[in-house]
């Protein structure tokens, strides 16, 4: 009756059972260290997340020399703060100004700077975001509540090679008195992807 053999589509509620079967088999075949899986899950649930990137941004706002190094070589600069791995050695940081707004996507997959932002939100990985933001970024940003003036240039970075991108948002007004730690709390994950400004959250 249908154009397709729907039997070939798995039942999503079945994923748990299938994941167990795959893990068991890979462990038994001697290919998978289940301890390594434990440790990766633990790492991304607890240790790595957007707070890494937020501290990088706060440092860049307070230390012009650090900001210069960060924009010149993102990987080296985040390593100074103890973040990153081989992947972030390929980190490119793009700066928002009053005239330029940057936003990050990966249209072919979901490439994302894990080491400084943790794992991406579901919307970032969705076909909808990937399809639309390269073509109609203003409309997409508007759905996130960010309406940009027509005079601002929007730069979309489609990060589909080995490099990873992060946005350095503008420092919000009225934050001159804040400590670096307080500033970091103003920097949301969305601001570092480029679908929000800092200080809104």
């Amino acid at each position: 009756m249908s154009d397709h053999d729907h039997d070939q589509f798995h039942d999503p509620t079945d994923s748990e059972v299938r994941a167990k079967a795959v893990e068991s088999l890979l462990a038994e075949k001697g290919l998978l260290s289940t301890d390594a899986v434990d440790s990766i899950v633990e790492q991304y649930e607890n240790d790595v997340g957007p707070m890494n990137g937020a501290r990088v941004v706060a440092r860049a706002w307070t230390d012009p020399e650090y900001k210069r190094r960060l924009l010149e070589d993102g990987g080296d600069a985040v390593a100074e703060l103890g973040y990153g791995d081989e992947h972030s050695a390929r980190l490119v940081v793009v700066e928002n100004t009053s005239q330029v707004h940057n936003v990050i996507v990966c249209t072919l997959c979901s490439c994302y700077p894990w080491s400084v932002l943790g794992l991406p939100p579901t919307w970032y990985k969705s076909e909808t975001y990937r399809a639309r933001v390269v073509k109609e970024p203003r409309a997409v940003l508007s759905e996130f509540g960010l309406d940009l003036d027509d005079s601002i240039e929007v730069r979309v970075w489609d990060s589909l090679s080995e490099l990873r991108y992060m946005v350095l948002p503008e420092r919000p007004e009225g934050t001159d008195h804040m400590t670096e730690e307080e500033l970091a709390a103003e920097v949301s994950r969305d601001a570092m992807i480029g679908v929000a400004k800092a200080g809104n959250g």
């Binding site: 260290s33 289940t34 794992l119």
Partner: protein
């Protein structure tokens, strides 16, 4: 022809579903799948081409980690790690025995080697000089293979300008087939009107990292 994963610019998708305070993993199995793929994926089969080989209907209606799980199944069966029958039997076993535990493997050498492998993809050596330099106009090729590539459909056959040189990396089109071809990678900037014509939004530029193989000098064809 591009596969369905190459969605940049495809019309018809609806609004973006934004979830407030989203957890890192919504279900425990998502974490396990993530952990499995990141430890073994790159070592035992090419992860991205395997995900891209998923049937279009399934690709567009599966969640991110569902796609990873399907790729783990396809990749492991294709490379002979286990058979489709073994997998089916084991799935059935876990379905019948929801409390049965998952097999463990505490091999410490294996745990170390997985991590080491994952973080050892250093940039390769490259002797030549990059062909292009910052500010050069470039024309992207129309390559259109069925196999894995990193130049998206929407940026093929378009004029852009070299914005930055990013270093030398193995061309992934070949690397996923086991062939190493180190090449310069450039960030190329495109005016939105070049990519989308009259449908482009105001003052927009798109920047894409492209291997040298994807680029031509305009007029050289």
């Amino acid at each position: 022809m591009r596969r369905v994963h190459d969605v940049g610019g495809t019309p018809g998708f609806g609004p973006i579903g934004i979830e407030k305070d989203e957890p890192v993993f919504h279900e425990e199995w998502e974490g396990r799948v993530f952990g499995m793929m990141t430890t073994i994926g790159h070592r035992t089969f090419p992860m991205r081409p395997t995900i891209e080989s998923i049937e279009p209907q399934t690709y567009l209606t599966s969640s991110y980690y569902e796609k990873w799980l399907i790729a783990l199944e396809i990749g492991s069966v294709q490379n002979g790690t286990f058979s489709a029958d073994e997998l089916r039997d084991r799935v059935e076993y876990h379905r019948q025995h929801p409390d049965a535990s998952v097999s463990q493997n505490h091999d410490t050498d294996l745990a170390r080697s997985t991590w080491h492998d994952r973080y050892s993809q250093r940039s390769p050596k490259y002797d030549g000089d990059p062909t292009f330099t910052v500010g050069d106009p470039v024309l992207t090729r129309n390559i259109d293979p069925s196999e894995h590539t990193r130049i998206p459909r929407y940026a093929q056959g378009k004029q852009g300008v070299v914005h930055a040189l990013r270093g030398v990396y193995d061309l992934l089109d070949l690397k996923v087939q086991g062939v190493r071809k180190p090449e310069p990678v450039y960030t190329v900037g495109f005016d939105a009107r070049e990519l989308w014509g009259g449908e482009a939004e105001l003052s927009q530029r798109i920047y894409i990292d492209l291997w040298e193989s994807y680029l031509l000098r305009p007029g050289s064809t």
